[in-house]
């Protein structure tokens, strides 16, 4: 057997390294200068797709949406008609798996039919609160100075408005008085809810705006707004997501408070909030009546909290280092 050294010595070595065109390195190192970089969001999406937390929460939300928009698929019992006082607070029976409310309406059907209004109030309010609150909060935090002063002080004014007063006045506006709907409630909630979101965003943006990568982006010539949108806000998302997911549930309950005071949804619109506040009167004797709409609310909030968690993880630039 020949030694290695023999072999070596017998070969004529022209290159210590494989010629560049024979290796895949060229392709690897090629920088497609004109191609769009994989964005934060696309990157997040790739990560999200593989996360069980995301898949489960997305499926749950999908189910909620189906229930909200096609309640007929789940129950044939009308939620609000043919309620008989004789059935008041009766337990489960054939065709009525969860029993009856105080007014003798079918609880299961009311929970199913209440999904649409409650989910709409929660989701639409959160979306608008996010749009207004994050925009204003980010501007205030990033630019500081008089922008901050004006936005923060306007926020203070709205913060100080009592919910009942705001709701009473809004529902009296001629337009809303005649068409009380889910969106009247959304309007009230957004009007009084955005300052909280703006403040949390502002705080998070103030924290991030002094970071090195922001300075880097600015010195590379990225515009102020560009820096804010592409670098600052994405890094400030964690508290925003937490607040948004929590507020979803709180807004759904706020609707109940408003309805209870007579400035929320009309009685003909089913909602979990309406049923939760109605269950107040049977709390001492029949607490189970409260349980079902409250459970539906919990499941919804849980789904969105999980989704928010998954989203936050996927978006967190620091976690990409690993």
């Amino acid at each position: 057997m020949k030694s290695r050294s023999d072999m070596k010595s017998n070969r004529q070595i022209e290159h210590y390294v494989a010629p560049i065109d024979e290796t895949p390195l060229l392709a690897t190192d090629t920088l497609k200068v004109d191609a769009a970089p994989l964005s934060l969001w696309a990157d997040a999406w790739r990560k999200l797709r593989r996360r069980p937390l995301f898949i489960i929460s997305a499926l749950m939300i999908l189910l909620l949406l189906v229930v909200a928009f096609f309640p007929g698929l789940f129950t044939q019992t009308p939620p609000n008609d043919n309620c008989q006082l004789g059935d008041s607070l009766a337990g489960p029976s054939a065709g009525h798996p969860l029993g009856f409310t105080f007014q003798g309406c079918d609880i299961y059907s009311r929970v199913i039919h209440g999904t649409q209004a409650s989910l709409t109030v929660g989701v639409v309010s959160v979306i608008f609160v996010l749009i207004i609150g994050v925009t204003l909060g980010a501007l205030a935090g990033f630019f500081g100075g008089w922008v901050d002063t004006v936005i923060a002080r306007i926020g203070d004014i709205f913060f100080a408005l009592p919910l009942v007063l705001g709701a009473l006045v809004v529902t009296q506006l001629p337009f809303f008085r005649e068409n009380k709907s889910v969106f009247t409630v959304v309007m009230v909630i957004v009007m009084l809810g955005w300052p909280q979101m703006a403040r949390i965003t502002r705080g998070a943006v103030i924290e991030v705006r002094n970071a090195d990568f922001v300075t880097a982006a600015r010195s590379l010539g990225v515009s102020k707004i560009g820096t804010l949108v592409r670098h600052v806000v994405p890094n400030a998302l964690a508290p925003i997501i937490v607040l948004a997911t929590m507020e979803l549930g709180v807004f759904i309950v706020t609707e109940a408070t408003l309805s209870f005071l007579g400035i929320g949804l009309p009685g003909s619109i089913m909602s979990w909030g309406n049923d939760i506040s109605a269950a107040k009167d049977t709390l001492r004797t029949n607490p189970e009546v409260l349980m079902f709409p409250a459970t539906a609310l919990s499941i919804t909030v849980l789904s969105f909290i999980m989704l928010g968690d998954a989203l936050r993880d996927a978006l967190d630039p620091k976690s990409r280092k690993r």
């Binding site: 306007i154 004014i157 009592p162 007063l165 309950v253 409250a294 909030v301 967190d316």
Partner: protein, 309 residues
């Protein structure tokens, strides 16, 4: 720094004017005649109604009413409410009670929220984290009236550990139950905000540096992770202090707390403009002060943040 604080305090003036104007206008725009409402189903004579309208300046146009309010304010005269009580005395009664309640609730939510949030964040995905998630769901989904009712019945009546109602003797001890109820609701926010920030900061460079330097784990956690995670929490707590000072209608009702929430609600329902505006004016001062405090805390928590300009 002093200049910054002074400038912020000066901003109180436009905010104050804006708020009082807005609130006064909103009360003015409320439907329903507040004077007739004083009489229920049996109306008084028109002459009495007219006399009362005069007495409360309700026969004047909006700008005159607002002007009179401002004028009186600068002479430190808040006027009387529809029950004939001086509004200043009412404020002096309700705000101390609510302030005590707010501070107690804030302490409960801050201490438990931050502690639990920190542990949940450090042990993300573990059993403690999941348990805490479920617990925070419960406080969000269970309405305050249920939480309050159950606590009152179990702790107050059955176990007798605390007084079930507050009434005229509001002090730190009697307020513990309502404070716990109020604190629990916001506890969920504080907890999840802390947890999210902690998770984010756990992998930060300075944490690895600190660990590599050989700092003890508690020191890394408290001085580096926690401190740097506090900005959203402090923001939320600051905002929440304002919210708590605005009073909580439901909780105050359940525990018979003679605080701001009930007064404000009654005043709105009765369209008592001067009372509503007086209470909201105090609230605005509280908000502005709380915000200033929060902004100063930012600079302390994160030395990179500077306000001097």
């Amino acid at each position: 720094m002093t200049q910054y604080i002074l400038r912020r305090l000066l901003q109180v003036i436009p905010v104050f004017l804006g708020t009082t104007l807005l609130v006064y206008f909103m009360v003015f725009a409320l439907p329903g005649d507040p004077i007739r409402a004083l009489f229920g189903d049996r109306p008084p004579s028109e002459a009495v109604i007219a006399a009362l309208r005069q007495q409360y300046n309700l026969d004047q146009p909006f700008w005159v009413q607002y002007g009179l309010f401002l004028k009186n304010l600068f002479t430190f005269n808040l006027g009387v409410d529809f029950t004939g009580q001086p509004i200043a005395a009412t404020l002096g009664r309700v705000f101390p009670v609510t302030a005590m309640l707010a501070v107690e609730a804030l302490a409960i939510q801050a201490v438990f929220g931050v502690a639990f949030g920190l542990i949940a964040g450090l042990r993300k995905g573990k059993i403690f984290d999941s348990t805490v998630l479920v617990a925070s769901l419960v406080v969000i989904a269970v309405p305050t009236f249920v939480l309050g009712f159950v606590l009152q019945l179990v702790v107050g009546v059955q176990l007798g550990w605390a007084k079930p109602t507050v009434g005229s003797n509001a002090d730190w001890g009697t307020l513990i139950l309502p404070a716990a109820v109020l604190g629990l609701v916001s506890f969920a926010y504080v907890l999840r905000l802390t947890r999210a920030s902690v998770i984010e900061n756990m992998n930060a460079d300075y944490v690895r540096t600190a660990t590599a330097k050989g700092l003890s784990r508690p020191r890394v956690v408290l001085a580096h992770i926690l401190r740097n995670s506090m900005i959203p929490v402090v923001t939320y707590l600051g905002a929440n202090l304002g919210g708590l000072m605005g009073g909580a209608i439901v909780t105050e009702g359940i525990f018979n707390v003679p605080g701001v929430g009930q007064k404000l609600y009654q005043a709105v329902i009765r369209s008592e403009g001067p009372t509503v505006v007086a209470i909201v004016s105090v609230l605005v001062l509280v908000f502005v002060a709380a915000n200033l405090l929060v902004d100063l805390l930012y600079a302390w928590l994160d030395p990179r943040i500077r306000y001097e300009k």
